[in-house]
């Protein structure tokens, strides 16, 4: 074991003072310190210049007639007011209107299964890896590998694996194990949704495992020990100690997991091309196809803004559910 990083005296003092499950202490009056502002400053600067300004720029572009004929004028393109928004929402002749709701429903289904699968499996595997065992370092490193392989390669690999005639998945299901009698078609039709959900879960598990592992590692050992001594079995310990302490991490992953899944673009595009078909067309593939491939940039910016508004609803929902976890400890 390597040298502990804490100075021995402090830890001894702390050990003496420590009581399991302390109630919240009265807050010490802080002088109006400028420290927090300094701490957030670097992040804030980057966010303003790379996210904030361009996002405002994107919104401005959504109010302009910005297509392939006006592209070279960039921000000088003619104003269009809210016409872009009207076209998408109300104009049934507009390319970005048709297929919009199909993409929304596909995205909802995809997001639900991907996030649920990733978090549940990620938690389970993290619990497994948290145990002390031989080869722990190897296992913990190798579990990251699905995440390290470039996503383009992953998508191509899975598109090979999903082929209905020669792909390994069907070979496994039908030829080797005889679990199925016929060869399902994964890359066309309704199964295309599963063709993208499963690789997404597979790829998302390593991050969830990593986060949960770090969270588990930081949990005070003595809480578990005390509970075990009191007679609580592993499942009760999990439900009443582990899970609540992990709640902030679950909340974070839920929030960003849903956003990331709803904005998924790479996997369906690489697997299916720019048009994944009516069952796997997600909001981002729809928007990128209609706005970039079809050079309808202004409309695309408007659709992106609308998409953002939809996600704001999600954030509001999440905030109500997890507001507690945002509080200062």
């Amino acid at each position: 074991m390597s040298t502990p990083t804490l100075q021995p005296d402090v830890s001894a003092e702390v050990t003496q003072r420590r009581v399991p499950r302390e109630p919240r202490r009265p807050r010490r009056r802080h002088r109006k310190s400028r420290l927090p502002y300094a701490l957030i400053a670097p992040a804030l600067v980057f966010m303003v210049f790379v996210h904030g300004l361009p996002a405002i720029g994107g919104f401005v572009l959504s109010l302009k007639k910005f297509n392939l004929f006006t592209f070279r004028q960039l921000f000088g393109a003619p104003w269009n007011g809210l016409e872009n928004y009207r076209s998408i929402l109300l104009d049934s002749d507009n390319p970005l209107h048709n297929g919009f709701w199909g993409a929304v429903s596909n995205t909802a289904v995809y997001t639900f299964w991907t996030v649920a699968g990733t978090l549940v499996l990620g938690m389970a595997i993290a619990l497994l890896l948290h145990r002390k065992m031989r080869g722990q370092r190897i296992v913990r490193t190798l579990i990251l590998v699905p995440w390290i392989v470039p996503s383009y390669v992953v998508a191509v690999l899975w598109s090979f694996m999903w082929q209905s005639d020669v792909g390994i998945v069907n070979k496994f299901l039908v030829d080797y194990t005889h679990l199925l009698g016929h060869r399902p078609v994964w890359l066309l039709g309704p199964n295309t949704m599963w063709a993208i959900v499963i690789p997404s879960i597979w790829r998302g598990i390593p991050l969830a495992v990593l986060i949960f592992l770090a969270g588990l590692a930081a949990q005070p050992q003595e809480l578990h020990e005390a509970a075990a001594i009191d007679g609580a079995g592993p499942w009760r310990r999990f439900r009443h100690i582990t899970l609540p302490l992990l709640r902030p991490l679950i909340a974070v992953q839920l929030l960003f997991g849903v956003i990331y899944a709803a904005y998924q673009f790479a996997i369906p595009t690489v697997m299916f091309g720019s048009n994944p078909g009516p069952d796997a067309d997600l909001m981002m593939t729809f928007i990128v196809r209609q706005s970039f491939s079809n050079s309808l940039y202004g409309l695309g910016a408007a659709a992106s803004t609308l998409l953002m508004l939809v996600m704001l609803v999600w954030v509001a929902v999440w905030y109500r559910a997890f507001r507690r976890d945002l509080e200062v400890t």
Binding site: T5, L68, D93, S164, G189, G277, R289, N294, S295
Partner: protein
């Protein structure tokens, strides 16, 4: 404590080293854009200038092949050519950004159907004044020449570089086993279908391996529309009306053409798993002996003799036959003609040198040599004919080029093609039993939707 300090200083040193490396890397490009602006009538080339040339992955070794090709040019003129390979998936956005930002190469390759789109962006040089130096319109077949124009404008925005057309590839041994005479197998669409039917009945396997009569890629392929449109054209249909103001893809004739292809799927003459693949993957299935008949381009011919192309199986390699596309009910046969052109950026600081490069690449010998490297056809008439006469398979392609047809040179063609591609893909999927149930009404409604999307895209210009 000291150990922590040591570790921390190593970390800081490592980060500093990385940051220095990061900053250092930015000035790698030797962009000699400080060279003097070219004089209007001076044809003297400045030695030592560098022309930046973007190409797409043409062939297995695109960088090396091109550098070899321009070596003689560099020697003759003293102008250096900086070749850069840009992938097909990013080239549309890259060229567009370069045209608009003014930060780009001097010359770029572009797909024939993309030229109007780029020209409409406004960043490309009109070559009307220079094009006569290489023979002008007369040096090219009409279909090829059309790809340099932009509808409604009087200008030449590109120089044709190399050409490809689609024709029918078939397995000679399969036809023989089925008792079909290749000379009459694919003369018109009915014969085409009958041939496939006969193959299905008489030759389910060959050499002990199963083989399907026909296959075509689905909506994943960039060229799905190029595969389907010839059948539409054969039936007298068209993708747009004559002045490209309205879509006609939902006309009765067009519907017949599309329906013909869908029926091939429905009748089991078409291997459905091919719809999961893109064009090259289906090509590899033909090479691998899974398909008896396939529609493809000339670049496959050069791979027949390349032993390092492991996609071929011996039986397929030895028995490749090529036939022109079938004729429609009124006796006219059409095929899609495509390829790539060269365009010069307005922002180029070395226009004379760039033009010299384009002229060099249009030389008859250079055309022939480069096209042979890739197994495409030269764009210019004379070398095109020479290559066309080289062997039977090339002859079939050459006659295909002569029947060649391309799309209207409008800027919005790319998006319209995308719209058609999606709808064609849906129709084929449904014929294969995936997605909506197949019926005549289904075909009609998809084509109506395609026409509506295309019309909306055409409105953009107004």
């Amino acid at each position: 404590m000291r150990r922590k300090l040591a570790t921390a200083s190593w970390l800081v040193a490592a980060v500093l080293a990385l940051v220095v490396a990061a900053c250092g890397g930015s000035d790698n490009k030797s962009n000699t854009s400080t060279a003097a602006k070219s004089a209007t009538n001076a044809t003297a080339l400045k030695k030592g200038t560098t022309v930046n040339f973007w190409i797409m992955p043409n062939g297995p070794q695109p960088q090396q092949d091109m550098e070899k090709t321009v070596a003689a040019f560099e020697q003759q003129t003293g102008v250096k050519v900086n070749v850069e390979v840009v992938g097909w998936d990013v080239q549309l956005d890259r060229i567009k950004n370069a045209a608009v930002s003014g930060q780009g190469p001097d010359v770029t390759q572009a797909g024939t159907t993309q030229v109007p789109f780029f020209a409409a962006l406004g960043g490309f040089e009109n070559l009307n004044d220079r094009i006569s130096q290489i023979g002008g319109k007369g040096a090219y077949a009409p279909g090829v020449w059309q790809t340099t124009q932009l509808q409604g404008q009087d200008g030449t925005y590109a120089v044709p570089w190399f050409t490809e057309a689609r024709a029918i590839y078939y397995r000679k041994d399969v036809l023989e086993k089925a008792g079909i005479d290749p000379a009459t197998a694919f003369t018109d669409v009915n014969a085409f279908q009958q041939t496939l039917q006969t193959i299905k009945e008489k030759v389910p396997t060959i050499g002990g391996k199963p083989i399907s009569p026909f296959g075509m890629p689905g909506k994943k392929a960039f060229d799905l529309v190029h595969h389907v449109m010839p059948f539409v054209w054969d039936n007298g249909g068209a993708e747009l009306n004559d002045d490209a103001s309205k879509s006609t893809i939902n006309s009765t004739q067009a519907e017949q053409g599309v329906d013909f292809v869908a029926q091939l799927v429905k009748k089991g003459l078409f291997d459905k798993s091919m719809l999961e693949r893109d064009g090259t993957q289906v090509e590899n299935q033909f090479k691998g002996g899974r398909l008896a008949v396939w529609i493809g381009g000339p670049w496959v011919l050069s791979t027949i003799d390349r032993t390092d192309d492991k996609n071929w199986v011996a039986a397929a390699r030895k028995n490749v036959g090529v036939a022109p596309m079938p004729a429609g009910p009124d006796g006219k046969a059409f095929t899609f003609v495509g390829g790539s052109n060269l365009m010069m950026f307005k922002s180029s600081q070395h226009k004379n040198e760039a033009w010299a490069l384009m002229k060099y690449l249009s030389g008859d010998t250079v055309q022939k040599d480069y096209a042979n490297l890739l197994s495409f056809f030269p764009a210019r008439l004379k070398p095109q004919e020479e290559v066309g006469n080289s062997d039977d398979n090339h002859k079939a392609f050459y006659s295909a080029i002569k029947q060649g047809r391309t799309y209207a040179p409008i800027a919005q063609w790319g998006p319209i093609e995308n719209a058609y591609k999606g709808r064609f893909g849906n129709i084929l999927d449904s014929a294969a039993g995936q997605g909506k149930p197949f019926s005549e009404g289904e075909v009609k409604s998809e084509l109506n939707a395609a026409a509506k999307e295309a019309d909306a895209l055409l409105q953009q210009g107004s």
